[in-house]
């Protein structure tokens, strides 16, 4: 009897594969956030160019640190999960 592919998939699915899928979703989610952090760098650059005040340098530094932390979180998820 021909099995429906989804049934064959579900029968072959074990707990290890399940967590691999969850890991992939996590990496995708954190990766998306990483892109958001990159856009934030661009946003802060544009904003500080428009309005030049005393907080410009700290804000730029925070944006870059934020990006570095996002990259670190993605790498951590890749290694730990």
């Amino acid at each position: 009897m021909n099995e429906v592919p989804i049934v064959r998939f579900l029968e072959g699915l074990n707990i290890g594969t399940f967590w691999m899928v969850i890991k992939f979703i996590y990496l995708l989610g954190i990766g998306t956030y990483l892109l958001f952090s990159l856009v934030m760098i661009r946003q802060v650059t544009e904003m500080t160019k428009t309005l030049n005040g005393s907080l410009n340098l700290p804000l730029k530094a925070i944006a870059w640190i934020h990006l570095a932390v996002a990259i670190g979180a993605w790498l951590l998820a890749l290694m730990v999960l």
Partner: protein, 245 residues
């Protein structure tokens, strides 16, 4: 008629003298062409403290997070060479209450959610990464909201009013109009919180392309209105006396 000039006290610089004689000879007599008449006619632009009660009563603001900043140490993108920023306004700090409360809930949320039985079946490594990702999201949320509040400003210079708006991550709008284009300034303070903490919305009608400027939820709206009216009167005075730049 205010005493604008005291002979010898306000001597325009050589460059100012030259710009006056080359750019605006209409109505000037021979003495003014030589530069001498400028002292009598008031060729030099007055400082804000000379014509504005608001500026006289206020001290220069040094706090970079101030929502009502007098003569702040900032410059902006379309600022002209001799243009001076006299007032920088933001939405009152209290308007940030909602997102700050949400952010605090985001910070303390994991402490309570971790007690749920659902998380006992999740492997420790996933719980760890979830916590890190959650706090990363909280930091990103805070940054985004703060940047939106900090950089959406209303600027009043000695020449113009400027409205700087960042609507999203990649869209900005900067609208400006000259002081002498302003036709009407009104403000409203509605509600208990706004009355208690003295912030409200200014509506500025102009004759320019953008007909209305709205300064939303700015502190001390009555002072801002008074200051803009003082600027309008000073502009009219400058035109009468031929001190226009």
């Amino acid at each position: 008629m205010p005493d604008i000039y005291v002979a010898g006290k306000h001597k325009p610089s050589a460059s100012v003298r030259l710009s006056r004689t080359t750019e605006d000879k209409k109505g000037m007599d021979k003495n003014m062409e030589k530069g001498e008449g400028l002292e009598k006619k008031g060729g030099k632009r007055r400082e804000a403290v000379e014509y504005s009660e608001v500026m006289r009563d206020a001290r220069q603001t040094t706090n970079p997070l101030a929502a009502f900043a007098v003569q702040p140490a900032v410059t902006f993108e379309t600022q002209q060479k001799e243009e001076q920023v006299l007032l920088l306004l933001r939405r009152h700090f209290l308007t940030n209450f909602k997102w700050l409360a949400a952010w605090v809930l985001m910070l303390i949320g994991p402490i309570f959610l971790a007690r749920l039985p659902f998380f006992e079946v999740v492997p420790v490594r996933f719980a760890f990464i979830t916590t890190i990702a959650w706090y990363l999201l909280a930091v990103g949320y805070f940054l985004e909201q703060f940047l939106s509040w900090y950089f959406n400003v209303y600027i009043v210079t000695d020449e113009r009013i400027i409205d700087v708006d960042f609507y999203s991550l990649i869209y900005k709008e900067i609208a400006s109009t000259k002081i002498d284009q302003i036709q009407d300034v009104t403000y409203q303070v509605g509600g208990a919180i706004r009355n208690l903490f003295n912030f409200g919305t200014l509506s500025i009608q102009t004759a320019g392309e953008k007909r209305e400027f709205e300064f939303e939820d700015v502190p001390q709206p009555q002072k801002v209105t008074q200051f803009i009216n003082e600027l309008i009167m000073e502009e009219e005075q400058e035109k009468l006396e031929g001190r226009v730049r």
